[in-house]
């Protein structure tokens, strides 16, 4: 299939067609940005993987972080581009599944805390008491860079839950929305994925007079490609390895800048142990 027909095939009804399940390798991704960006980004990836693997490959969009994990769990997709936390959740729900590749940037990912200009908050080396009583928005409830790590550092700094620290805590749903909400002043402060922010600033989509970065978290591991453990049984011996190789071999800047990542490197489940520990610490995951 050429690119145009492929893009047209990214239909939301596709997920419900039983035929999809037969011999097509289907993947999804957490919807961390505007839908248009996701379609652009992953439509190209599907084309690339199809070329490299010699099987039909399809990308299916989902509505929420948890829907991506659910689709992975019920085998409607065999691979996904997960965040740190969703990846840990998914691999816990589907025993045998493994992280196979992460972005070069994902070994040391960070979150930005961003603030509306009306708050008077200025960039600083640490979170200060000036944050108290402000309104604050996370991204998705299941986001690593938009919820898990920011909440962890808030609790570490202030020793209390965000709900008592701020006068209002919201969950915007994705990073694009978090930026829009803080930019418009609907929330005073927000936490956002640094890569989405930097790409937005570079593209001129963000009014940096209205909203600016006030703090950056320490580094942590984030996004990764996770594949189901039964992929080899279904698509042939060595399939998982071929998928991994295809991802690592991705060098076309056109494909990579859409993420945005400079390239992919191997990853393992163990790389994400710190994420799991953090999730247990802030109480959004039960200790296993």
């Amino acid at each position: 299939m050429n690119r145009i027909t492929k893009t047209l095939c990214i239909s939301v009804t596709a997920l419900l067609a039983p035929a999809v399940l037969a011999d097509t390798f289907v993947f999804t991704a957490i919807p961390d940005q505007d839908e248009r960006r996701l379609t652009e980004r992953f439509g190209k990836i599907a084309d690339y993987l199809e070329q490299q693997l010699g099987v039909d490959v399809q990308y299916i969009p989902v509505k929420s972080y948890s829907a991506a994990v659910s689709a992975f769990r019920s085998d409607q997709v065999q691979m996904a581009w997960f965040g740190g936390l969703t990846g840990v959740q998914a691999r816990q729900l589907v025993p045998g599944s493994q992280a196979i590749a992460q972005g070069v940037e994902d070994t040391a990912f960070t979150s930005y805390f961003i603030a509306h200009e009306s708050t008077g908050l200025a960039p600083a080396d640490a979170l200060t008491d000036a944050l108290r009583g402000k309104s604050f928005t996370f991204g998705s409830k299941g986001s690593t860079s938009g919820r898990l790590m920011p909440e962890f550092y808030l609790r570490e700094q202030f020793g209390e839950a965000p709900e008592t620290l701020f006068n209002r805590v919201g969950f915007s749903g994705d990073h694009s929305r978090t930026i829009a909400l803080v930019e418009s002043g609907a929330y005073d402060v927000g936490a956002v994925n640094y890569a989405v922010w930097d790409a937005g600033v570079e593209a001129g989509d963000i009014d940096t007079d209205a909203v600016q970065v006030i703090w950056e978290t320490p580094a942590y591991p984030d996004y990764q490609w996770t594949i189901r453990g039964d992929a080899d049984a279904r698509f042939g011996d060595g399939f998982t390895q071929r998928v991994q190789q295809a991802l690592l071999d991705m060098t076309d800047p056109d494909l990579l800048t859409a993420f945005p990542r400079s390239g992919f490197i191997p990853a393992t489940n163990a790389d994400y142990a710190p994420i799991e520990a953090t999730a247990v610490t802030i109480g959004i995951m039960d200790a296993q």
Binding site: S66, A67, Q92, G142, A186
Partner: protein, 493 residues
């Protein structure tokens, strides 16, 4: 000349109304009603502009979304009606009544979240999400309709006539017109429910509405918005006779209700995932439960009640204020036509969608939810009372204007108003819980969090709490209706 005497018991009605208003006022200090966007007017302007100058999607996208919306609605309602009829035949049994009450006490969206865990994001999950709660509703309404049939023909049957013959030849023929009319009406509700399921990822009109509205693409969202409005507003015109079975067959062809059924997954969900975590690991369950109670159950319950009380009173106020605008006793043809149009729009659109739009405009607080619930339900009440008021016959020299409203019409309609409002109480509570999924910290907020954290044990606990709250409110409202001798029944979704 037929002026009806004022009904008895007006004192009790006044006291009940006063009590509800007082309760709502007491809720006010706990309610979070503030506007948090800096320029809601500008956003509203952009929305209006988008609605006036819609940008059309590809025909394929729009047609797909409409077809899927109808397919989920028809299959869900059909399956719900069949199951509900089966339950209705046994409706005299207490266990069946309880089962039906619990099925309908959980909102379609919550059922959908559960079924998506079992069957993935599949056609089957969507169909069941509508069918299961609707079966509970059908069981109740069908049960009552069957009970209300005249027993005389049944008693005239020979003694050895079987139960099936009795049902087929005496009960069913009598109840049939009402059963059919109600089922047709439920289809309208089904279309609304189906559209709302799109908000969590099923490919209906709501899917596109959610994405586009959230990103502020109002012009692109407008066609989907109009499609939903037209489907619901015209439903009673095209959805009749042979069209219904034809549509159902088409629905089965378009979206076969199948799913990748994974027995092991379902078994694990039922025997492991929903078992409270401390029981699984053999730890003490009390701290776990207390944590859940203090952090989620209690605040969720309080916020649900606060929001519901305020919405109920706003609904009542709007209902009382708006009904004259569609009544033949007031205004002229033009004002009535205009009001009718506005009320049809408000009651056609699901509360969930209205709240979603209001949240975008006003920012996150209880205010958008109160506005959405008040407008939608107030429009329903105003429409119903307006209809009934047309049957009033006033003296030729009856007062006009405000005097007519306050001293002639409102007192005569007040009993009806109270009956309808109490009927809406349960619906308002149900919808209030679900609005939590939009970020208002009612029970739905915590249920959504539990699903996002894949902690199904907590999710089920919270779902049970919301179901118990619904059942309690329903029986409370029924008790008041009985005390006030309010007999008027109304079944609206």
């Amino acid at each position: 000349m037929t002026t009806r005497p004022l009904p008895r018991g007006t004192g009790a009605m006044r006291r009940t109304t006063g009590l509800f208003i007082l309760l709502a006022l007491l809720c006010l200090p706990w309610a979070d009603i503030a506007v948090h966007t800096l320029a809601p007017g500008r956003e509203l302007g952009r929305l209006a502009q988008g609605l006036l100058w819609p940008q059309w999607p590809t025909t394929r996208t729009l047609a797909d979304a409409i077809a899927s919306t109808l397919a989920f609605a028809f299959q869900g309602v059909a399956l719900g009606a069949i199951a509900g009829f089966g339950l209705a035949l046994l409706y005299r049994r207490r266990a069946v009544r309880w089962l039906a009450a619990s099925l309908r006490a959980v909102h379609e969206l919550f059922w959908a979240l559960l079924f998506i865990q079992l069957f993935g994001l599949s056609a089957l999950a969507g169909v069941l999400a509508i069918a299961v709660p609707y079966a509970g509703i059908f069981a109740k309404v069908y049960g009552e309709l069957l009970e209300e049939t005249d027993p005389a023909p049944r008693q005239a049957l020979p003694a050895n006539a079987g139960r099936l013959s009795s049902l087929m030849f005496t009960t069913l023929p009598q109840a049939w017109p009402n059963l059919a009319a109600y089922t047709r009406y439920r289809l309208e509700c089904g279309i609304r429910s189906s559209a709302v399921l799109g908000f969590i990822g099923l490919p209906t009109l709501g899917y596109h509405l959610e994405s586009l509205l959230r990103q502020g693409f109002y012009a692109e969202a407008a066609p989907f918005f109009y499609a939903l409005l037209i489907l619901i507003a015209t439903q009673h015109r095209w959805c009749r006779g042979w069209m219904i079975p034809a549509m159902l067959l088409a629905a089965l062809w378009w979206l076969p209700p199948v799913a990748p059924v994974n027995g092991a997954l379902i078994w694990q969900f039922l025997t492991h995932d929903i078992v409270p975590a401390p029981l699984r690991s053999g730890m003490d369950a009390l701290p776990w439960f207390m944590d859940l109670w203090q952090g989620q159950l209690w605040p969720g319950l309080i916020n649900t009640l606060v929001l519901a009380m305020l919405s109920l009173v706003v609904m009542g106020l709007l209902g009382v204020m708006l009904f004259p605008t569609v009544s033949r006793l007031f205004g002229n043809r033009w004002t009535r036509g205009l009001s009718h149009g506005v009320l049809v729009i408000l009651r056609s659109l699901p509360e969930y969608l209205l709240a979603f739009i209001a949240l975008i405009l006003l920012g996150p607080s209880m205010l958008p939810a109160i506005i959405a619930l008040g407008l939608h339900n107030g429009a329903i009440i105003a429409h119903l009372i307006g209809q009934y008021s047309n049957t009033l016959v006033l003296r030729d020299d009856a007062a006009r204007g405000l005097n007519r409203y306050f001293f002639e019409v409102l007192p005569r309609q007040f009993r009806l108003f109270l009956a309808f409002s109490l009927y809406r109480f349960e619906t308002v509570i149900r919808e209030t819980a679900i609005l939590g999924m939009l970020g208002i910290p009612t029970l739905g907020f915590f249920i959504d969090s539990a699903f996002a954290e894949f902690r199904f044990d907590r999710a089920v606990m919270l779902l049970v709490a919301s179901a118990v709250l619904n059942i309690a409110v329903d029986s409370f409202a029924r008790r008041i209706r009985q005390r006030l001798h309010l007999q008027h029944k109304v079944q609206v979704c």
